[in-house]
């Protein structure tokens, strides 16, 4: 018996096979423990690294920190991976690609949102091209806040994911991971042009700034002061 993503219990096909043999059910508890041990200590990751968090991920995978020693091996293809680590800003153009890679990963699979940009978009949140958090289009199991989180924080996230998998396989209900609050979340400070709420001074200041630029260009000699 195990618990899936939606906290529903289900019977693993392996148990059905084992139950055909007489007396095998005695060993099921032990088998379950072994399977859980194997599952949590062989989390192969697919690094969905798009920006600076990817550098921290690389640092975590290198010899000083060494992700391999907890069984977390980075693979270059989603088809061999259990965990997707989304490390970096995901743009509107990238989001369908991330979703496609996520869909290509075989079950069971988990996702770690690493860094502020993957969690909420951070200060790129209000930009026209950035997705405000990857959990708007795919499920996320563990959030690792930081800008970027250092390798220790990533290790902490992976350990938390291991704990979560273990508890779920033991049939214990776990608290759903909460997205860390972003303080001061608000609508863009500068309203759109023509907005009734937009400050007229802002419009004029922006217009002056644009018109104050050197409009002519022209040929300037070094001795001419423009």
């Amino acid at each position: 018996m195990a618990v899936n993503e939606e906290n529903e219990t289900f019977v693993h096909p392996l148990y059905e096979a084992l139950e055909r043999f007489p007396g095998a059910d005695v060993g099921l508890t032990t088998a379950d423990r072994v399977l859980t041990w194997g599952l949590t200590n062989a989390l192969w990751v697919f690094p969905m690294a798009t920006s600076c968090c990817g550098i921290e991920f690389m640092a975590a995978a290198c010899s000083r920190f060494d992700l391999d020693r907890i069984g977390t091996i980075a693979r270059g293809t989603p088809r061999q991976c259990d965990v997707m680590v989304i490390a970096g800003t995901i743009t509107v153009k990238m989001a369908p690609r991330v979703k496609k890679l996520w869909d290509q990963m075989p079950e069971p699979k988990w996702a770690i949102a690493m860094g502020s940009c993957a969690i909420s978009g951070d200060f790129y949140r209000d930009i026209y091209s950035v997705v405000p958090g990857v959990d708007t289009f795919m499920p996320v199991d563990v959030y690792v806040p930081g800008c970027p989180p250092n390798p220790d924080a990533l290790f902490m996230g992976i350990r938390r994911l291991q704990e979560k998998i273990r508890l779920k396989r033991e049939g214990k209900w776990t608290e759903p991971e909460l997205r860390p609050d972003t303080p001061g979340l608000r609508s863009p400070a500068i309203g759109r042009l023509g907005d009734p709420g937009r400050d007229a001074c802002t419009s004029q200041a922006q217009l002056d700034a644009v018109l104050g630029l050197d409009p002519g260009g022209g040929l300037r000699r070094p001795d001419q002061k423009s």
Partner: protein, 142 residues
Amino acid sequence: MSIDLSHFDLVAENDIVVVPVDKLVDVATYLRGQGFEYFVYCCAAHYPASESEPDRALVEYRLRRLPAEDVALRLWIPSSDACPSLAGLWQAADWQEREQFDLVGVRFAGHPDLRRIMLPEDWPGHPLRRDYAIDTRHFPWR
């Protein structure tokens, strides 16, 4: 067409020549023949209409003659008009002009493959134009 390059201060960083739109290809061809074989960049900006000026766009090309001589060609066009493309002269201009089309919305006449290069193919509008609302939400992610 020939230009007396001795009037140009080719070493200064800010040496910019304002070129009429219909003369751009001629000037560029001539400069290419004079050894300006290195295409540095193409950039563009959009200026909204004001009391004194109509709605217009700036396009600037920077060309280099190695080791260190630069010349920049600047054009002012109405932002809805097309600018002649230099992708036939310098292959490097191809993607640069696509980028300007994508973000600023300047169309390049004679460009071999004028498609969006950075934003999604179905993106509405050109976000670096001054009349583009900065908080436009893109379906379905916002």
